[in-house]
Symmetry: C2
Subunit: 219 residues, 2 copies
């Protein structure tokens, strides 16, 4: 049964990767550093983006692409409210962004005026992991109340990421969370990850995250 | 290009629904009430299942199917440790359970000895929503730290569910969460949902959840 099916799947993946490469080339030609932010629903992707804008808006020109499964503009409105160009992708129930969606969104952003592009993927620890969208770095936002066993249970998303932001450290006193166990789980899968505990509520760790972005974008 | 593709998708969905109907018939013939528990990663599915077992194990014979994207048996081991029959489905990176996976798992459970079957789906607020697995009721476990905007951003999963368990109410003092806004978001999508705030930590609300299960399983 699989004899005709497998080559078709292969072709779809290659098409995505081809368009991802075009996205990357476009970002490079404009001198933009692009990041893909992935997480469970509610880990704090939008809060992290807002805090990143707050920290860097005087030093970098930032644009945002918001991926959502529905047409509501809750997150995009928050970005717009702080004066940052934003384009929303409504996946129509789809569980991840892909490179063609991002290519469409790029056409609607003033790329010549940007230094940093932040893409907020759909909230999902499974599907976004396997779709290259053409950004330069993959970031996962995890959060303390999600529990310390997530890297063991959703391993794929942690492979190949550049930064793990462990958010909501302010809730650590109220939740059983073993940071060493969590971190070991991530590092077994990915020895090169930058592991940064943060709190979007208290501001903890956000300076280190901003420094990482500034340094990477300068290259 | 779509002319041959669409019928194939249709056929796959129908195959899933056919097997879901067979799963349902098997549960009915054994007098088992089956529930499908869905949630974001870390909302507390496994904790809720453990608390449900604790509340009901002297009144119902319970079996569990654990869906995971990886081969780790962290959750299944916890169920096994409390003396309940459990079968793990490793989706091999897949983002949801489907009816054939559950059919396979049912063959490995002592169905004649069960009154309640609890299926823990893969942690994902998007993909599990569209796959009928043949259980009698769909449950979503949400949690306070995920934020009150989730029904607006991931609407599909809330449609057609029977119970919304809002977990981690113990964290409410430390997190900005508007329960009315959240609940309204769920009820716009689904007017028949049973909305039950719970805390697996303090035990709040678990008696009402146990009563709901006992009442439904008795029919």
């Amino acid at each position: 049964m699989g004899t005709t099916h497998v080559p078709i799947v292969q072709r779809i993946l290659n098409a995505n990767d081809q368009i991802a490469a075009q996205n990357r080339a476009k970002l490079d030609s404009e001198g933009i550093f692009g990041i893909n932010i992935m997480a469970s629903p509610g880990a704090g992707k939008t809060s992290t983006i807002l805090k990143t804008i707050e920290a860097l808006k005087d030093r970098m020109r930032i644009g945002v692409i918001e991926g959502d499964t529905a047409a509501v503009t809750i997150d995009a409105d928050k970005i717009k409210a702080v004066g940052i160009p934003v384009v929303q992708i409504n996946t129509g129930g789809g569980c991840h962004l892909d490179a063609p969606m991002v290519a469409d969104a790029l056409q609607q952003l003033p790329l010549q005026e940007l230094d940093l592009l932040i893409v907020e993927n759909v909230g999902n620890l499974v599907c976004p992991a396997t779709f290259n969208i053409g950004t330069h770095a993959n970031i996962v936002v995890a959060s303390i109340p999600e529990g310390d066993d997530k890297p063991y249970k959703y391993p794929r998303i942690y492979q190949g990421i550049d930064v793990l932001l462990l958010n909501k450290t302010d809730l650590a006193p109220y939740v059983a969370f073993n940071t060493d166990y969590f971190r070991r789980g991530v590092e077994i899968l990915n020895q090169n990850v930058n592991f940064l505990p943060i709190s979007c509520k208290t501001g903890e760790g956000l300076d280190r995250w901003a420094d990482w972005l500034l340094q990477k974008a300068a290259h």
